[in-house]
């Protein structure tokens, strides 16, 4: 349900400063209240502003359906990392600014009445960077989706791996992808939604591996930093390099979806990809718990058609 905004004249000198936001794409001054009603999409040029994790959850899920999991996961400082600032100070500052404990929130909810597990990243928390907490949350969300056999939706907004946790951040690429790979093999859908930006180690792990990859328009999506690409390699970068439409044109994104259509798209996709699942009470009995060892030995049998349903008990 796209909301059409009335055009309005700029009245530069009559409003307090915090009521207006300038669109970085078209320089239009946008009235904050209207911008929020329009899901933070510029009414003039369609530029998608970034969303906080709570707002994103609210936009996508059925009202009052979200139950957050693991809200208390808190990063440590395994390297004793100090650059111009100490890492724990950066985390504390980000926590104070965003009200979040780290750059991802995950939980259970429903979309169009269907149960899902959802994990949402927030760029305003240290650039949405993935350290141990984000990696753990993504992995736990995938394991929960496998356990319940309900679709996993991950909304990415991240510059990549968090440098301040060194190779432990790099190892989160393996941790998250190992978990989503088990989902894939078990036939539980992963829908990856890439918002601005989805880059570096987050794009090079679970975000690129959705069964369906969606992207918001004109989001920055890429592996190497554009400055790195431009600086290291001679020659100009192609038009629209590392933007959603570029990824779409090269076959790495299924659909570029305007924010006002995103919830409806997810409702349709979830309904098409996942069978009707009994409601929340199902997870305390009806569905067998995931047993990794028996599951793995069943993998080899999955190529044989008649045993295709074997792992569903």
């Amino acid at each position: 349900m796209p909301i059409k905004l009335p055009s309005f004249r700029q009245r530069r000198d009559t409003y307090p400063s915090d009521l207006w936001t300038q669109c970085p794409a078209c320089q239009e001054m946008l009235f904050n209240k209207q911008l929020e009603k329009a899901l933070r999409v510029c009414s003039n040029c369609g530029h998608h502003f970034r969303l906080s994790a709570p707002v994103r959850l609210n936009l996508l899920l059925d009202p009052d359906s979200f139950v957050e999991q693991d809200p208390g996961l808190q990063s440590l400082d395994p390297l004793g990392f100090v650059d111009l600032k100490a890492y724990p100070d950066r985390v504390a500052a980000a926590q104070a600014t965003t009200g979040l404990r780290d750059a991802a929130v995950w939980g259970l909810g429903s979309i169009g009445g269907r149960q899902v597990v959802i994990c949402v990243m927030d760029f305003s928390f240290m650039g949405g960077s993935m350290g141990s907490v984000v990696g753990e949350k993504v992995a736990r969300s995938a394991e929960a989706a496998l356990d319940r056999r309900v679709p996993l939706v991950i909304v990415s907004a991240s510059g990549g791996a968090r440098m301040q946790e060194g190779t432990l951040s790099l190892m989160q690429l393996v941790k998250t992808v190992a978990a989503t790979e088990r989902l894939r093999l078990a036939g539980v859908p992963l829908i990856s939604v890439m918002s601005d930006p989805t880059t570096g180690g987050v794009f090079a792990s679970f975000a690129a591996l959705g069964d369906v990859n969606l992207a918001e328009p004109n989001a920055l999506i890429g592996f190497a930093g554009a400055r790195v690409s431009a600086g290291t390699i001679q020659g100009e970068l192609p038009e629209g390099f590392q933007r959603s439409e570029f990824l779409f044109n090269h076959g790495f994104v299924d659909r570029v979806v305007h924010r006002s259509d995103l919830r409806d798209e997810l409702i349709r996709l979830v309904a098409l990809m996942a069978p009707e699942v009994p409601d929340a009470s199902a997870d305390n009995g009806n569905i067998p718990a995931f047993r990794p060892l028996s599951f793995l030995s069943a993998l080899a049998e999955r190529v044989i058609p008649e045993s295709g349903e074997a792992d569903r008990g």
Partner: protein
């Protein structure tokens, strides 16, 4: 309740924040680490082909990813080491300029990783263990790489390695550069040569972002604890293979002999394990890596609609512009391209 997980260092019994420094380090730890980074990057260190020439009785290289082309920055093939048949995948630079250019300075394109995946899957089908040799500054960062899906290739290769039903031994022989290294470095056992380094981003890249100048690369190298000894402490690496006294580049045969002995010892142990158990243990190995604690908190309330929080953030983030006195091009707007957290 607070739990503390730092890699799998429990069995080594130390907190990562009080890692012992190298005993032979000079007084300046930054200079010592930087010297080690230079050593890891030394062009005359033995890489995949040099090592194979010394440790494999036979090696048949396989070429091409069957989709696009053959990437000379990654070599892959079938080998026989000490009578044992294995699949080998590794990165390759050239010691001389011409060869180095031909191999694109050891920076793989997507087709390199897709070739690696093809050959590793072949190993799984044939029941052969996989040995990988890692030495890469990073995946190739150009437009062609992005067009052909470098991130997807890396992600898929990592995913494949987490589930391959055959033993995998990985050796970091030089520079373990971020995702470009990790794409072929997921193993049951991860070994590192003594002067190898492993990092989430190059020290130059890290310094450019966090110190705002690449000149601080040595400080970034120290802060990231990227030496083999540090990686062992973090649990990212399982064992450090000693190098000849003056470094691997000074004595290829001695280095190769030590690599060979370590790889064979681990393959022996891994091949005795049932495959289900092996793959589950590999999953658990990576599942346990990370450092966090759990604090008792109430879940945060999710606001009904965008509003106050976003406005507050915009204010704090300098995003909202006063309607008066804002130029057409604010120097730093909320939605400018992000400072990159990783390369």
């Amino acid at each position: 309740m607070v739990d503390r997980l730092i890699g799998r260092t429990g069995r080594r019994g130390s907190s990562a924040t009080d890692l012992p420094r190298e005993p032979e380090s000079p007084a300046d730890p930054t200079a010592a680490v930087w010297a080690r980074v230079q050593l890891a990057r030394n062009l005359h260190r033995p890489r995949t082909l040099e090592l194979l020439a010394l440790i494999a009785a036979d090696f048949v290289e396989l070429h091409g990813d069957r989709f696009f082309g053959d990437d000379p920055a990654i070599v892959a093939g079938l080998a026989r080491i000490d009578g044992r048949r294995v699949v080998v995948v590794g990165q390759q630079k050239g010691a001389e300029t011409d060869e180095n250019i031909r191999r694109n300075f050891g920076m793989p394109h997507p087709e390199g990783y897709r070739k690696a995946m093809r050959v590793m899957e072949l190993g799984e089908r044939l029941g052969l263990p996989i040995v990988t040799f890692v030495d890469v500054p990073g995946a190739h960062p150009g437009a062609d790489s992005e067009e052909r899906g470098i991130a997807e290739a890396i992600a898929r290769s990592i995913a494949l390695m987490t589930r391959l039903r055959t033993p995998i031994v990985t050796v970091i022989t030089g520079e373990g550069g971020s995702g470009g290294a990790l794409a072929i470095a997921v193993g049951d056992v991860v070994l590192a040569l003594e002067n190898a380094v492993y990092s989430v981003i190059s020290p130059e890249g890290c310094a450019s972002i966090l110190w705002r100048t690449p000149d601080q690369a040595p400080a970034a190298a120290l802060a990231m604890r990227m030496t083999a000894a540090d990686q062992l402490q973090l649990g990212v690496v399982d064992e450090v293979i000693p190098e000849p006294h003056n470094g691997a580049h000074t004595d290829h045969p001695a280095t190769a002999a030590m690599v060979k002995a370590a790889v064979l010892r681990h393959l022996d142990a891994l091949e005795r394990r049932p495959l289900d158990e092996l793959v589950e243990a590999r999953y658990r190995r990576y599942r346990a890596l990370g450092a966090f604690t759990t604090i008792d908190v109430e879940p945060a309330a999710i606001p009904e609609r965008p509003g106050f929080t976003d406005r507050l953030r915009n204010l704090l983030g300098g995003a909202t512009r006063a309607a008066t006195g804002t130029g057409p091009n604010p120097a730093r707007s909320y939605d400018e391209p992000p400072a990159r957290e990783e390369v």
